[in-house]
Symmetry: C2
Subunit: 555 residues, 2 copies
């Protein structure tokens, strides 16, 4: 028995914000039975992942232990916790457990990949529990910026672990369950070995604000508006959608939802009973028949996503609706780092249309879904865990959160993705390191982050691409002159002569001078031609392009 251990292993989400995926195990080393918590994604960008569609954790370690996995638990339906279920499930195979709203959305994702609804099992809130191998797991309600977010109460080998998922301590979350300190205290009473805890807002010094604080300022803003009102927020923030819609409703406006993601969320929330009393909505085609001052649009695209409703409205007509001078556009959201330029672009497009833009810079129209520093302390006080394991955060967040735990006299452990922590003893110990990384969904194919494919794209984007074609006859003699095609390079450089002419002249001379040994050897020839092209380009246009050499030998 003493050789068995409880392990915690983050494969995503620890050392970054997004792409959450955590593993718990119990058993003899490398024979552990495993459960997976969350299968999230993160989003690509031009800087590091051009052309990539989605970024997922590399779950090779889990694939290799497929037979040891007893269950997958999803804490809540944000994409960075649920987004990869459909893409990665095939490699894991275990049943997926979630509460009703999350399960509803998980089934939609599984359906897109051809998996039936039975792959996802709905679990009620604590005290209901699920038995999964040596684990007994319950969903403990906690407030967040999406309905039915839950912490997991994980009982294993006589120990209790609590994995918070994403959370805030909200006494009035507008939709869904308020944070219930008494329930949490009761669940923690038997003693909690480890609190595995969201770290996102550890640097925010003030206590978090309740979702309910927004209704008054939003109502005042909408009531004051003279023409059309448009509001955008995260599609999954059902409480915010309700606050916005109610503000519109009270101002005598008909509500219209624009954007597929938003309609899907509302649908799931209504189907599962988490959302009631949402004002009646009208169809986009009915907007035109109403006076502008009697309409409020609630739209997707708060992060500036190019294809979402906000961006499309800012570029012109969308669903038959055009914004005009005097309309009001509210960003009831924060801009996630990296999305600033896109959001600002939309704001300027709207400005060109004469639309007045209001955002949360004054602190009135958005609250965070994550627990701030004092809230993290409060939760620690309630749960009173022996160990705190910070998760869901960049390195700096995990480090600060570890310090916070230690300051409060608890054992804290800084474990980034791939760090296997043994939670069995009195203090956590690092049991080893697992290779982790990222898997890209690229078109319809999964590729590894280190396969070099995306690196090649970045190189072409930075340096341009030259294609050199040479043909050699049966005797390895050049047949005609080599030639060049270019993509992404200036056509004329310092000589004021077309760059391809210069390159072809240089290549021709090279082929004339090249000895038999070079001409016979593809590698040598390719290397020589590449070096020549790169140097000629550097001289002519100050850039060293990527070069592909195509050697054709007539045989």
């Amino acid at each position: 028995m003493s050789s068995k251990r409880i392990i915690y292993l983050p494969l995503g989400g620890a050392g970054e914000i997004g792409m959450n995926c955590y593993v718990y195990g119990y058993g003899a080393p490398d024979k552990e039975r495993l459960i997976v918590v969350d299968l999230g994604v993160t989003f690509p960008d031009m800087d590091g992942t051009p052309g990539v569609d989605l970024i997922m954790p590399d779950i090779t370690w889990l694939k290799d232990r497929r037979g040891q996995i007893d269950a997958i638990f999803i804490t809540h339906a944000h994409e960075d916790h649920i987004g990869a279920v459909g893409h990665l499930w095939e490699s894991l195979g275990a049943p997926i457990y979630a509460r009703a709203f999350t399960a509803n959305l998980a089934r939609r994702k599984m359906d897109e990949h051809g998996y039936g609804p039975e792959t996802v099992r709905t679990v009620s809130a604590w005290p209901e529990t699920v038995a999964a191998g040596p684990f007994t797991v319950g969903f403990l309600p906690i407030s967040h910026s999406i309905p039915e977010s839950s912490a997991l109460v994980i009982d294993v080998a006589g120990e209790r672990l609590i994995h918070t998922g994403d959370f805030k301590l909200d006494p009035q979350p507008v939709v869904g369950e308020a944070f219930d300190p008494d329930l949490w205290a009761e669940v923690s009473k038997p003693g909690v070995k480890a609190l595995i805890c969201d770290s996102t807002n550890v640097f925010s010094p003030a206590p978090g604000r309740s979702e309910a604080t927004l209704s008054q300022p939003i109502e005042a803003l909408v009531a004051d508006a003279k023409a059309l009102v448009v509001a955008t927020t995260f599609a999954s923030n059902v409480a915010r959608l309700k606050t916005l819609a109610e503000a519109g409703d009270r101002a005598g406006r008909s509500i219209c939802l624009l954007g597929r993601a938003m309609r899907r969320m509302i649908e799931a929330a209504v189907e599962t009973g988490v959302l009631t009393g949402f004002p009646k909505v009208i169809a986009p085609e009915d907007v035109g028949s109403l006076p502008r001052e009697n309409v409020m649009l609630i739209v997707t695209g708060s992060q500036g996503e190019r294809r979402a409703a906000s961006a499309q409205l800012s570029r012109g007509k969308y669903n038959g609706i055009t914004l005009k001078e005097g309309d009001l556009f509210l960003f009831s959201s924060k801009t996630i780092p990296g999305n600033e330029k896109e959001v600002i672009r939309i704001m300027n497009n709207l400005s060109e249309m004469g639309v007045d833009v209001v955002d949360d810079s004054g602190g009135l129209y958005h609250v965070s879904g994550h627990a701030n520093r004092p809230d993290l302390e409060q939760l620690q006080d309630i749960v009173n865990p022996q160990i705190v394991v910070p998760m869901h955060g960049e390195h700096r967040h995990l480090r600060e959160h570890t310090r916070l735990a230690q300051k409060k006299g608890r054992a804290g452990v800084l474990a980034v993705n791939g760090t296997m922590v043994d939670l069995s003893g009195n203090a956590p110990t690092v049991a080893g390191f697992v290779e982790t990384g990222r898997t890209y969904l690229d078109g319809s194919v999964q590729i590894g982050a280190l396969d070099g494919i995306v690196r090649d794209r970045i190189r072409m984007a930075l340096n341009g691409h030259v294609i050199v074609t040479v043909i050699l006859d049966e005797e390895d003699e050049p047949l005609g002159d080599p030639w060049c095609d270019m993509m992404g390079l200036a056509e004329v450089g310092r000589s004021h002569v077309p760059l391809t002419d210069i390159l072809e002249e240089d290549l021709s001379q090279f082929m004339g001078r090249a000895g038999e040994k070079t001409l016979r050897d593809d590698d040598k020839l390719e290397e020589g031609l590449k070096r020549l092209v790169r140097n000629s380009c550097l001289n002519e246009i100050g850039k060293k392009p990527e070069v592909t050499v195509v050697i054709s030998r007539l045989a």
Copy 2:
């Protein structure tokens, strides 16, 4: 005389932040004598301008009127006002005027392009003036985040215009001249036709804070530090460098400057006498011989620039110096939108080293260099101009600033890049539109933003690149099979067979089926092969790549 007019024409900086370039003219329509104010740059990014080195205004309109340009004035030495002088001067040819510190830096830039120091003429502050054609121009001191920033007092045809440049109203700027409301009132006394005014911070509701407010919190922070202290800020913020260095000095630390840009700024500031009393600095190689707690590094790279000192220190040893657990790293700066991810990356690298990072999130360690909304109002009250022309701002800033002017009972005009405004009458009128845009410095070549070169790079980055090679003999018959090279694409797709094999098979079949008419016609053949490859790739890997077809005909 009545046919002559005063015009204002922004070519950069109006409708964007950065890349400032403004033109003033006086004369009969299209015969105006011209002066240019500022020749700035803006910086490329992977999203829109991969591989580009620098972005400059398209000055074709000025080039076409080279003979009409009497002078170029540079308000201050920030890159977005001075950065293009060396690159664009050849097309303009007119003398460059600036105050001593700015002129010093302009000469360094001109020197890099082989132009002598006489191309830049040093002007003293108001009341000294420069006669340039019909214009008389004086440099009116104003505070900003770089020494000797100046507004321009432009007298022409009996009217006075004031072009603010970038500014804040700082009574204690630490280095350089404080804002002098009495001087500004005196200069404005004869009546100011138009105030052409910085708009950057029009959305900031509180009055701006003085540079001097930072010394106390920075001193307290540094005094408290236990090991090495590193601080980063904008290299050009000489006042901040002084504040930082003095804080280190008072805490008994030796100061070491890291980063070329920073040393160059200090050098220029000392040479021109704007900076005095800067603490003695030590060389990087002397840092190692001192106890860590006796050293403070002031380093470049507050925006996360990959090659700057901050980034290099966060990745490991730089100039023989390595950061360690317990060191303190201060970002005395704000992060410019778009740079968030790079800055955060550095913070996390530092966290991994155990370095404590402090930034301005608490509002203690940075102040903006631009006038906030109440400051803009104050300046309007002092200058009392007939017209306000907002400049240096995105569309939303210009719009809000125009409204602010109108709210105060003045004529305001929203003029984005390319809008020619006639300032001769009682109210400003739009006299026409000029085509404007951006010129990229790409390697050593200037290319147009719309040349399609960068667009091709972006396409390769998003879609990958396939090169198809076919050889046809003298009778237009295929010689051997076509083949494929790929760059930036997954090697294997849904068939689990190498993608190039699948493509080559498809291409081979296509060539076999192709009729004489297609085989004889390069365009037809290319189009057919491209379409085939794109569709096969879509089917196999879910992506449509860029395709280059190389057709070789043996003749």
